[in-house]
């Protein structure tokens, strides 16, 4: 594609504006975290007049931030990994087998994307309490319950994307593996999964991100021991004051590892979406 000259200017202006829109809140987050609370609550200034790192120190004692961070990390990691494993099996079945109920299964799974969370929040909560006491595992107010909930939230989209991805892998490859003596599962593990790695990583990222940011279910289904960051960060708005500088500092600190991980893996996300949703 030959680029006309005017495109250069459109590109500079267009990308510049998009960049400005994207980066402004991030800039404010960073600068507010190093301002004293008084300055943050006062009139806005682009350049901090006084710089202090006290927010990065105080934030650990205002709210048990490290504890929430660990909870979020455990919940999101296990939920995303298990979700991907379950999605791989289901997507493989839908992509490679013609079985009765296949269409019904796909449609049902997909339609759960439309369920308003409010509608099943309370029933789910009740099921967890009752099921939990029946099988002797705490599902309510525990990380286990959150993990199960979140992994299911990301399942529909994950299955959907992986079906698309698996469909794009030629069946001939499976057949070749079967000639080598593998069954369908062998073909899945030895041929399909390696070929679909970018798609799988993409789904993994998606599942992790959606678990990481969820607020509604976490606010009802966690107690202090299992509280996640999404809810825990609200603790900086206390009865007495809203510690904006600490909110910003804490947001920054907990975001850095996630954003870094995301950016490191984004190449897979693009590849994964390329063959998955796009095929």
């Amino acid at each position: 594609m030959r680029d006309p000259k005017w495109l250069k200017w459109v590109r500079i202006i267009g990308l510049g504006l998009l960049g400005l829109f994207t980066v402004t809140p991030i800039y404010v987050m960073i600068t507010s975290s190093i301002k004293p609370l008084k300055d943050v609550q006062g009139d806005f200034h682009w350049i901090p007049t006084t710089i202090t790192f006290s927010a990065f120190h105080d934030m650990w004692s205002t709210v048990p931030l490290a504890h929430y961070f660990v909870n979020s990390l455990i919940v999101s990691t296990i939920a995303s990994v298990v979700s991907v494993v379950v999605a791989i099996f289901a997507a493989y079945a839908v992509s490679r087998f013609r079985f009765a109920g296949r269409r019904a299964f796909s449609i049902t799974v997909l339609s759960t994307q439309m369920f308003p969370g409010i509608l099943f929040l309370l029933p789910l909560f009740l099921i967890y309490v009752n099921l939990g006491s029946a099988i002797g595992v705490d599902l309510y107010a525990s990380r286990t319950g959150l993990i199960i909930t979140y992994l299911t939230f990301s399942l529909p989209f994950s299955i959907w994307m992986l079906v698309g991805y698996f469909d794009s892998i030629p069946v001939a490859l499976d057949e070749a593996a079967k000639v080598d003596g593998s069954g369908p599962i062998g073909a899945l593990i030895r041929v399909v999964i390696p070929a679909a790695t970018p798609g799988i990583i993409a789904v993994l990222i998606y599942a992790f991100m959606s678990a990481w940011g969820e607020v509604l279910f976490a606010s009802v289904m966690t107690d202090e021991a299992s509280r996640t960051l999404a809810v825990g960060l609200q603790g900086y708005a206390t009865q007495n004051n809203v510690y904006w500088n600490q909110i910003m500092a804490a947001s920054l600190v907990v975001s850095i590892p996630v954003v870094a991980g995301f950016l490191l893996l984004q190449r897979y996300l693009v590849q994964g979406l390329t063959a998955g949703a796009v095929k």
Binding site: G14, G42, S111, E214, A230, L269, A277
Partner: protein, 338 residues
């Protein structure tokens, strides 16, 4: 899970290799899939594969959903939450209450619904447009491309709370950046406008939502663009097509399947999004930005009237199912026509 030590070691895999000899080592771990006639196993395998997903969907989505629908037919207020079976049947009255647009409850719901539709359409359209513009302009090699791409993705990677709470800080009337720029620096307004209450709150929620979702559109569309074969562009260039023409005749048609999925997903996510308005406005949103997810949350969780709240949710679900069905019908027909 049945683990049989006596099952044929190759049994789990081999359906098309009857003549295969067993491996020499007899001490291997037992098979996961029990010994079954080959044909039956082949029939059962897909069901076994979808079983975990199905169980999870049943537990977390489908059964609670059915209970939720059941809740919409009873008078479930705080008087009965301890013992649901004692709650009197409400018949269709919860639904009557919700759709009686002449009465305040129904009118408020309708208002909230219309606000949400407008919000969703604008947000999805702008997200798509921003994503498209970003993806198209990012094509080709130039300096700083990688950095810019990473930067664009940051809002999507940030935890919702962190991103949205920062926006609520920017939108403060006295100490926020938005008013600082618009009023103090650009002098566009005489008096500082409010962004989190009153009329402007609608614009605020659109902008914040756009900020969060357009990177996703950007990501998907960028992936879609990479998948368009180069030779299509080369062929059209030989035909003398300019940049705009190529955009119209090659890029957009080739992206149609991507767009079909992207727009639907964005629509559903935006429509049902609870996190963004909740963090931005709290438990009660201003009337102008009273999105349906918050409205129903208020109707059920804040006032403990779960019957009515459930009826509203069921109506919402029916609407979304209808929209999705129509959308898929139209877009897939168009695709088969093309």
């Amino acid at each position: 899970m049945v683990v049989s030590a006596t099952s044929r070691p190759g049994g789990g895999r081999g359906s098309g290799d009857p003549g295969r000899p067993p491996p020499p080592s007899g001490g291997r771990k037992g098979r996961i899939i029990p010994r079954l006639p080959v044909r039956l196993r082949r029939l059962g395998l897909p069901y076994l594969l979808i079983l975990p997903a199905l169980l999870l969907e049943l537990l977390v989505h489908l059964i609670p959903m059915l209970i939720g629908i059941g809740m919409s037919f009873i008078k479930l207020t705080q008087l009965y939450i301890r013992n649901w079976s004692a709650a009197p049947s409400a018949g269709w009255s919860n639904y009557h209450l919700a759709v009686d647009f002449n009465a305040p409850v129904g009118r408020a719901l309708l208002h909230s619904f219309l606000v949400t539709v407008a919000f969703t359409l604008i947000t999805v359209a702008l997200s798509w447009f921003f994503g498209m513009a970003g993806a198209v302009l990012m094509q080709g090699e130039f300096r700083g491309r990688g950095v810019l791409r990473a930067l664009f993705l940051v809002p999507y990677a940030l935890p919702v709370y962190a991103g949205v709470i920062t926006w609520s800080f920017l939108l403060q009337r006295d100490s926020g950046l938005v008013n600082h720029v618009l009023v103090d620096q650009l002098h566009l307004f005489g008096d500082k406008p409010f962004w989190l209450i009153g009329q402007n709150s609608f614009a605020s929620i659109v902008v914040v939502s756009l900020w969060r979702w357009w990177p996703f559109a950007f990501l998907v569309l960028m992936a879609g663009l990479q998948n368009i074969p180069r030779d299509l562009y080369e062929a059209s260039a030989i035909d003398g097509a300019g940049w705009m023409r190529q955009l119209r005749s090659v890029t957009l048609p080739m992206l149609r399947p991507v767009n079909q999925v992207l727009v639907l997903v964005l629509f559903l996510w935006t429509f049902n999004d609870f996190n963004t308005p909740y963090v931005l406005f709290g438990k009660t949103a201003p009337q102008e930005a009273d999105l349906i997810s918050i409205h129903i949350y208020q109707s059920s969780f804040v006032t403990w009237n779960f019957g009515t709240g459930s009826a509203m949710s069921v109506l919402l679900l029916l609407f979304l199912l209808l929209v999705t069905a129509i959308y898929l019908l139209i877009t897939s027909r168009r695709r088969s026509d093309a």
